[in-house]
């Protein structure tokens, strides 16, 4: 059964090596708080994409707070959508 990964820290501080070791095919990722800066690295065309073959969401409130735009093809949810994701997936893994 797949997991919802909640990534709350910027790409520079979250340990990407550990994330890669644990995130599985079919898992869902939601980027919240400083995690939304992943929109500027992992998913940007210039850098090697790591998670964009997975179902990924960016939390709208945190994007707006930081003035960060998403690139074409990125999906967003608000907090209610976040709740819905947590209900859909049988478990969550928080990264902070």
């Amino acid at each position: 059964m797949n997991s919802l990964h909640i990534i709350a820290k910027a790409p520079t501080s979250a340990s990407i090596a550990e994330l890669s070791a644990i995130v599985d095919e079919g898992d869902v990722l939601i980027f919240i708080e400083d995690g939304i800066y992943f929109a500027r690295t992992e998913f940007s065309p210039s850098s090697a994409p790591r998670f964009n073959h997975l179902e990924c969401y960016f939390l709208e409130e945190d994007l707006a707070a930081r003035g960060i735009d998403i690139l074409e093809g990125m999906q967003t949810v608000d907090t209610r959508g976040f709740v819905a994701l947590s209900a859909r997936l049988p478990r969550s893994v928080s990264w902070y």
Partner: protein, 125 residues
């Protein structure tokens, strides 16, 4: 009954912080002990800088901290035997199995993903 439900649940603890610098390692250990008292099924997974928690020969008295390695040595006494160490994390830090304070299963990414997929809850402080 509740007991049936409890016993069906498995909690995976991901220990990925170095000891002493922050409180995270100790917090995860305390949850492990509490879960053991409630006879929960438990996976204790050391990964990333968390593998440093298991290094033998820690003497934190000089920095006024309580020894963590010594506490981890006693896990088996509390019935916690599902202790896993992420092999790549260990090797990339120049450590070997013989330097660890307790017995642990060395695992690769695929086995790790499997453990997570079979867990009811994952606590990753």
């Amino acid at each position: 009954m509740d007991n049936d439900i409890s016993n069906k649940q498995t909690i995976s603890l991901i220990a990925r912080r170095a000891p002493y610098g922050s409180d995270g390692a100790r917090q995860t250990l305390d949850i492990a002990f509490a879960a053991a008292v409630f006879e929960k099924s438990l996976n204790y997974i050391f990964i990333g800088d968390g593998v440093f928690q298991l290094v033998a020969g820690q003497s934190p008295k000089v920095i006024s901290s309580k020894p963590l390695g010594a506490a981890l040595e006693t896990l088996e006494l509390y019935g916690i035997s599902e202790v896993f160490v992420h092999r790549d994390s260990l090797l990339s830090r120049g450590l070997t199995e013989s330097q660890l304070v307790c017995r642990a299963f060395l695992i690769e990414d695929c086995a790790l993903k499997q453990l997570i997929a079979e867990s009811t809850y994952v606590i990753n402080l």
